[in-house]
Every structure is written in C-alpha cells, then in structure tokens.
C-alpha cells in the first residue's frame, strides 16, 4: 500500500514537471505510455529488451562462474591468493569504460567483446565476495566430511555450496544491478541493437519520449527479475535458518 502511494506520488511529480516545462524536454507520463505501446505493437521494444536481457544473462553467468571458481581457489589457497591479488586489485580499480573501450579495440565491435567486457567488469566483485565466503568455510564440518569420506560431489553439494550460498546471493544481487547498467553502456558504444542502442538513438534525435519509452520498461524488467527470481532464490537457500525460535528442548 505504502509502495503504491509512493509510486503514485512519483507519477504525480513527473506530471507536474511535464506541465511546468517544455514537453520536448520532459514528456508527460501519458505521452510516454503511448510511445511504449507504439513500440510494443511494432515488436521493437520486445526484441530490444530480449537482446539486452540475453547479454545480461550471458555476461552475468560468465562472471559468476569464473568469479566463484577463482574466488574459491583464492580463499582456500594462500599462494594463489598472493599471486592473483595484485591482478584483482588492478581489475577492481580499472574504470568500466576503459575495459569496454579496450575490449572493442582489441576484439572489434563484436558480441564477444561486448559480453566479455561486461563480464570482466563484474568479475572482480564476484571474486572478492566468494573469496570471503571460502575463507569463512567451517573447518569443523570439513573434518566431519573427511572422516565420513564424502565424495567430491557430496562435498560440493552438501558442504561447500550451502556455506557459500549467502555470499553467492550477495554477489548475484550486487552483480545483477551492475551488469544491467554496464550492458547499456556497451550497447551504446558498440552494438546496433538493444536498449542501450535505442537510448543512444533517442539521444541523437533528442527524442525524450523514445528514451523514456525504453528506459522505463527496462527498469521494470530489472525489478521483475529481482523480485521474481533473485529474492525467492535467496529465501529458498536460507530456509534452514528459520525455526531457530521453535527449538525443541525436550529429549
């Protein structure tokens, strides 16, 4: 309810802003919704959203899988940590734009360069978070698994992943919002489709209606993924934490 009121207030503020200024500078909500409808009917909206979403998924999957593997090794092995830490610090402090431009220069204006550049921007953050998780693995449980001779698969599934789950969830949450944003920049600089490309077009034409007609559905899609996928997943992996309150103290 409060969320709804807050959202309505935002729309109202937008409308007032539109009335007070040039409609070419700030188009009103109705004009933008009409434009969204137009783009949706033509199919352009969905194809661009789909292209951008596919890039987000690919870059995110790449960054998370490599980040988890490298972070785990660095968290568990002192030598690997010492060797790779300077690289990690460099990558962490490299501006996203530099990575993107270098990727386009070296690999051409290709899909591989685009997705690789986004993944590389997310990678160090994933490594840092998972490394933290790997350092916090419980050695007592590890001894237990050793004595009972857990297979490598059982170790991963029942011992390591459940302990890393909160860290992976944190990396997912911060990672998705980062990847969403960088994908638009990559599209703006070197792709000929996707939401970032359309926003660039709108900017060139100074078409604020078109710009907002892509920006808003994109934000809605991000929020949708967050609430429909990420949050339920987080709840699922931490379900065992509940029930502490109904501890059974009889034997």
């Amino acid at each position: 309810m409060i969320r709804f009121i807050s959202l309505a207030a935002l729309l109202l503020l937008w409308q007032i802003g539109a009335w007070l200024s040039d409609p070419r500078r700030i188009p009103g909500p109705m004009a933008v919704f009409e434009k969204i409808y137009e783009e949706a009917v033509s199919g352009a909206l969905f194809s661009n959203l789909a292209v951008t979403l596919a890039r987000v998924v690919a870059a995110f999957a790449l960054a998370m899988s490599f980040g988890a593997a490298i972070g785990y090794v660095m968290g568990r092995n002192k030598l690997a940590d010492r060797l790779l830490d300077p690289w990690l610090v460099t990558l962490l402090n490299l501006p996203a734009l530099v990575v993107i431009v270098l990727a386009y220069v070296w690999a051409g204006l290709t899909e591989v360069a685009a997705i690789g550049a986004v993944a590389l921007n997310k990678l160090p953050n994933a490594i840092v978070v998972v490394r933290e998780g790997a350092r916090a693995l419980d050695p007592h449980l590890e001894d237990m698994a050793e004595v009972f001779r857990f297979s490598p698969a059982a170790r991963l599934k029942h011992l390591i992943l459940p302990q890393l789950a909160p860290y992976l969830a944190a990396a997912t949450r911060s990672g998705l919002s980062l990847v969403w944003k960088i994908v638009l920049v990559v599209e703006l600089l070197g792709r000929s489709n996707g939401v970032g490309f359309e926003i660039n077009m709108a900017f060139q034409l100074f078409d604020m209606k078109l710009l907002l007609a892509y920006a808003l559905p994109f934000v809605a899609l991000m929020l949708g993924v967050e609430t429909i996928l990420v949050q339920p997943l987080e709840r699922h992996v931490s379900r065992w934490r509940r029930g502490v309150s109904r501890r059974l103290d009889r034997v």
Binding site: L141, F150, H158, V244, R247, L248, V251
Partner: protein, 254 residues
Amino acid sequence: MNDTSPAGGAASLDVSIASKDYHSASGRPLRALEGLRLTLPAGQAGAVVGPSGCGKTTLLRLIAGLDKDYFGTIVLPEHGRLGMVFQEPRLLPWRSVIDNIRVAAPQAPEDDIAALLDELGLAEHAAHFPRELSLGLARRVALARALAVKPDLLLLDEPLVSLDAALARDLREMIARLIDERRITTLIVTHDLREAIALGDRLFLLSARPAHVVATIDVPAPRRTLAKETAERLEAQARDALAAAHAGSQPGHP
C-alpha cells in the same frame, strides 16, 4: 614419518605415537602426546580417560586421520571404515536430521536408517533441522550418523559431556546397548572415570599433557551386569594407578 593403515589380518586398533607437537605461530612447539601406546582387540570398547587438555581429542584426530603431522604408527581395524561422534555434534545445519544421515551414509538402505532413528528415539525428529534440536538430541543424531556407515571403528569424543545427569545416563545406556549389540570396535574418550568404567571393556588411563598411557585396566564383566562393588574396586584401582604415575613424574611430592 608416520603411518595410518588398515591392518592386514590382525583386526584390532594398534596405536603407537612417539610424539605429537602443535606449532603455534609464536613461540616454541607444544607437545600434546609423547610415547603413547594402546591396543584394542577387535569388537571391544576401549575407554580413554584423562584430565581436560591432556590430549584426548588430539589422539582421536590422529586415529581418524585428520592430522598427519606426528611421529609414530597407527594401525586401524580391517577396512578402516570410520564412524565418529565429535565433541560438538557437527551436523550440517542446512540439512534435516534424516538427510544428515543419508549424506554421510549414502549406501545405507532407507530401512536401516529408519530402524536406527527408531532405536535412538529420533523417529519424530527426522524432518527437523539441527538448530531445532537440543544438545542431547543432536548428539544422538551424530551417533546415528556414525552408526549408519557401519563403521569398523567407532570413535566417540566425550559423548556425555555438558548433558545434565539424567540425559547423560540415558545416552550412556543407549551407547552401552548399541556397542554390546553390534560388537563394533569402539574407542570412547572421556574425562570421567565412572563413565569409562560403565562403557569400556578396557580402560586406558592417560597422564597429564603430554599424554601417555599410564595404566591399562581390563574391565572383567559385561557392561550392564557389572556389580557395584566391582565398579568401585576398579575405580579405586584406577585412582591408585593415576596417583602413582603422578607421584612418579613429580619426585618430592608424594
């Protein structure tokens, strides 16, 4: 420098540790065990008794193969399948009671696991998560898990510590019954002499740190039929042995 291996033929536990040191980051090494020897025939329950901090958990960790940094040899019973109950239950908090057992004993048939849960009074807790259990219940789950793997050697580290008297007695009787029924070679570690006499076929009395065995005493009668006088006599005998060892190591203080 050391050797932990399943025995070829002689089906018993044979431990001979020349020395075990801990190396802290600062300062000199800390000697936990020195010249410790013990042998346990197959199918028997041995009880290791010693004061807190003397090196009992260290000894179990060496036997379990969790720490290979020592001088000496350890020969495990044939096949060397281990079941262990750690001092803390060490259950996977994100798996239910029954899944904790399944994960540790993937080859155990479901019927066996159900029977085990029944026997340990855990049937109604099968679906609970470890955080919902009291320490007494969690210990029983850890015991069920150790038994589910059908171990050739069962290691119990202070299984009754920090339970109140009634719970400790219940669990002690449960353990006594299980090791009698199953004839598993078992090594129980405790700091409580009475507990050791109630559970063990053979007592190993340890010195203070660095620990070695100062006396080995065989308990004549089966666990549940041990007469009160016999138990008291054994206790006195053990205390004498400990006192003698103590006097021997500190001349001038009789």
